[in-house]
Amino acid sequence: MRGFPAAVLVLLALCLTPAVGSAREHLQVFVTQPYLELHTGAGRGYPVFNVVPRDESVEVLFRRTDWFKVRTRRGVEGWAAQRDMLKTVLADGSAFTFDLGDRSGFTSHRFELGMFAGEWGNATYISTYGSYSFNSQLAVEVQLGQFLGKFTNGNTVDIGLTHVLMPEWRLSPFFTIGTGIVHLEPKATLVQPSDRTQETAYVGGGLRFYLTRRFFLRAEFRSHYIFTNLNQNQRADEWKGGFAFFF
């Protein structure tokens, strides 16, 4: 509860940032189609309220998903769809190009985020991951998870490398290897065992399947080795499936 007022202050401070950032220089593009339609909101359901005629320019203020907020020379601001903006040109006549978020983006992109549900050592497992790709095949990945079992609850943090074998395929296999920590909280009614944190290493693999737009499905298996103080290290298998998106 103590952190709450601080969070409010941080949020208020962040609220002011968009106003400060508005003084920046914007990209100017020219309409080549008979006209460019401007919608009232960033979505195909919002009505068209203005059109920009051919050869006139608009300033591109910012982008939200597949929509661009633009300002006409008369100062009218509205939202233009990605497919319409593809037909505009820059001041030097070259085409206005940008990241489309399509199948080619699935093959090569910078970031990924996703969520999974599954099983970690026979306990229900929920996790989320983020990854940064160095190239179309190799990425570094961080995953945070929580498993909720009958006898033990726990949290996991994993960091590792993922290698996608055929990034251009719609269904592409991948391998992963890395290390992490697991925090175990045993549930017990008679004795109260203490929580413990242990280091782990894992190796695994899975499949990625491109769904549509920026989404893909991902199913994965990981075999974790838990390094204990005992004579024998423990093993835990992780099975999970979920969806992810790239950007």
Binding site: R24, E25, G41, R44, L61, R64, K69, L148, F245
Partner: protein, 241 residues
């Protein structure tokens, strides 16, 4: 010892993986190199010929104008939404209590968004405790109800909300569903959530939400194992980045 083995294994893995990553380029690279060599040979042949070649027309204009380099301003993306919310949570058997939380969302397409939520409330007394006098089912620490979840949202019914004659704010309804965990009564439970909400945007960077969500988890707190429905209604404000 194990740490060393792991470090060694990881180093080998890193080296192998990045090595493999270049495999697909090897053949490509070889072809490029061949093409470069052929081009160089051709250029050399041409430069040998040119001094003797008088038939080439003399240059009338020397293009000394340097090509202007145009820097294209980067377009800012504004897909992330972060905010705070406050509302009421009805914890099954434990009454309705205030709840506060943090929400963060990433808008992937105009239709779908990915959302993470964290919230906290405090359970009241069950009717059993109220009627039973001094009976305490849970300690004060166990009464904290803390949840987090990861959900997928879908926007539908886009529209506009009108304030008087001059102001129109874009708005949308959305449905949400996801999974998460609830820490309540000294135990953590796997929780499924689903709900719906209404979002209205007073400006491009600010949104006001009203959300109703049901958090369902299995509980055996009152003797029998049952699915508990914990309905939450909250109002919040988020900022787009």
């Amino acid at each position: 010892m194990e740490r060393w083995i792991r470090v060694l294994l990881l180093t080998v893995a890193v080296a192998t993986l990045s090595g493999c990553a270049t495999v697909s380029n090897w053949f490509h690279h070889r072809r490029e190199a061949r093409e470069e060599r052929a081009q160089a040979r051709e250029d050399a042949k041409r430069s040998d010929q040119s001094p003797d070649d008088d038939s080439a027309p003399p240059r009338v204009v020397d293009p000394a104008v340097e090509r202007r380099k145009i820097t294209v301003p980067r377009i800012r993306s504004s897909n992330i939404e972060i905010g705070l919310d406050y509302g009421a949570l009805s914890i099954e058997d434990f009454g309705t209590n205030p709840v506060y939380g943090i929400t963060a969302a990433y808008h992937v397409t105009e239709d779908f968004f990915f959302q993470g939520e964290w919230g906290r409330s405090k359970a009241g007394r069950t009717s059993f405790e109220t009627l039973g006098g001094n009976i305490q089912l849970l300690t004060p620490a166990e009464r904290h109800f803390t949840y987090y979840d990861l959900s997928l949202g879908y926007n539908f019914l886009p529209g506009e909300a009108f304030l008087g004659r001059g102001v129109a704010l874009s708005s949308a309804f959305y449905i949400l569903g996801g999974i998460g965990s609830t820490d309540f009564a000294g135990d953590k439970k796997f929780t499924v959530n689903f709900g719906a909400g209404y979002r209205v945007l007073p400006s491009d960077w600010l949104a006001v939400h009203i959300t109703v969500q049901d958090r369902v988890f299995q509980s055996d707190l009152l003797g029998t194992t049952k699915l508990t429905n914990n309905i939450e209604m909250r109002i919040g404000s988020t900022v787009f980045f």
